[in-house]
Symmetry: C2
């Protein structure tokens, strides 16, 4: 029997201006999944640990392989390829549950990338998307590829079509560093979806489109001033920000400290910012953490990281 | 007393995926305005002719300078600069009224560019935008810069902000030729706005954003296949197409003849298409004209033209 371990990065979905379509991968933190082949023709969960490697059965992660985001894609993969062997999965959750940092996508993607590497004829990464989305589906009730895509492929990705699945790698401007701050309060993705109105004013669509267009143009032309003007969410953030304690103060703090933009990471509660130098990113991170603490959110994790160019990969 | 004549090109607003923000200039047709300075400190209309140079007082163009799109901006410009002389305007309408080809923007812009060239210290083109929008306002009841911007500056433009006014020149992929077909039936811009719902489904916003993002990425990367996939309006066209006779057949004909995309030009009834070679553009134009005629629209004008790189300019 063989085994492989894969790392899949945390991801920031939406990126202020691309609800359900934009996302970027974050190099500093991710999930690690070890997959071993088994003679028993099924998929099982061997172990779940937290970021420190401690056994963590209180993580609220389902142990039923049919409901666990790391294994549900593997079950389908086995069926699809009619494999006569099974997989056993050990999952190390580097990404906190319900943090808005793409944890379910990362578990799902890491398991698939590890398992895929064990196949006699590995599939192309593109072919893993549909299986990874099944993991998203069980975790959040919806299957949007805005986390799965950057998690698998790295970089800043724009999903241009769901069926057939198509995406574009948008170039990340030179020197951009991402900051993520995760306050220890949970926002369930389902709840975060529930607060969104199913209809939006046409005028908001126009403004958000102008921002999306400016953001993408700014990425291609390395125009940081255009990015600063464009990285503003007039559509989703106003509806969701009340779910995140101290959000307005945290966002302001980031911008005052020199971020070119800051908004909710995925469905929150994590908040991301983009900065244009290491020094600026460190200042932005400190300012955001302080604003959370001033807002009575005492437990906060934070990272500074380049955008991952690589995405998920077999680590050993 | 001095005089100057300026040409301002027809423009295609919206461009399928950028309602109220995207537009491109069309080299083949436009309005021509001759502006002369007058001792009398006011703005007057001297003559209005049609494309053939024939006097055309039946064009339904208001002769009151305060309500005429070519003069209203000049009136404000005079006030703004406290000029002690006036302007007399002769307007040659190359662009049919109510055609959806940016005729009111072109009259307004041509008059301003001509008048500006007569000033001792001409303003930057950027400063003319607000005056040109006044012309749009009297013509259509709304002041959107999606025609004025490409008309003034040329190219394919994305308006990223209204206040302050900001725009981006998006590169037009090599070899793109535009086709415009104008069926002789009127769609009033006000009516075309009235049919639009003030709210749209969030899901449609997501799909249209994916198309806008793909379109802009495709322009920067010269990816014609991505443009073909993205140049699709899921939002506005479905609401407006019933205003245009035979629209569905015309659009299908364009695509079947090899266009990479086709949609309503501005608020219609003109329909534009993009093609990737001269031969393809000619085929597309013929197919679109035929589809209009098969749909009982007997009078149709049509053009093939590169995107204007230059925009409005003084011609002599």
């Amino acid at each position: 029997m063989k085994s492989a371990t894969a790392f899949a990065p945390a991801t920031v979905a939406n990126v202020a201006v691309g609800f359900d379509i934009l996302g970027f991968a974050f190099e500093a933190v991710g999930d690690v999944v070890k997959v071993s082949t088994t003679e028993q023709p099924s998929v099982s969960i061997r172990e779940i640990t937290d970021a420190t490697g401690k056994k963590a059965l209180d993580l609220e992660i389902p142990l039923d392989p049919a409901r666990n985001t790391a294994t549900v894609g593997l079950i389908k993969l086995r069926e699809h390829l009619r494999l006569d062997f099974g997989f056993a999965v050990s999952l190390r959750k580097g990404i906190a549950l319900g943090s808005g940092m793409g944890g379910s996508a990362a578990s799902s993607v890491a398991a698939l990338v590890a398992a895929n590497s064990l196949l006699e004829r590995p599939l192309a990464k593109e072919s893993l998307v549909e299986f990874a989305l099944l993991g998203e589906q069980v975790a959040s009730g919806t299957a949007h590829p805005d986390n799965v895509t950057p998690c698998l492929f790295g970089g800043l990705t724009l999903v241009t079509s769901m069926r057939p699945f198509r995406y574009v790698q948008v170039p990340v401007p030179t020197n951009i560093l991402a900051v993520i701050v995760h306050p220890h309060c949970r926002v369930d993705t389902r709840d975060a979806r529930r607060v969104l109105k199913s209809d939006i004013p046409l005028a908001d669509h126009v403004r958000q489109s102008a921002n999306l267009g400016g953001f993408i143009a700014g990425c291609y032309t390395n125009d940081l001033e255009l990015l600063r003007q464009s990285l503003v969410d007039v559509l989703i953030e106003p509806q969701r920000k009340a779910l995140i304690p101290a959000f307005a103060a945290v966002r302001s703090a980031a911008l005052e400290a020199g971020a070119i933009g800051a908004s909710i990471s995925g469905s929150g509660p994590s908040v991301f910012a983009w900065a244009t130098s290491k020094q600026a990113a460190v200042r932005v991170r400190e300012a955001m953490v302080r604003a959370f603490k001033d807002g009575q959110v005492t437990e906060v994790d934070s990272w500074v990281s380049p955008v991952s160019r690589e995405g998920a990969r077999v680590s050993r």
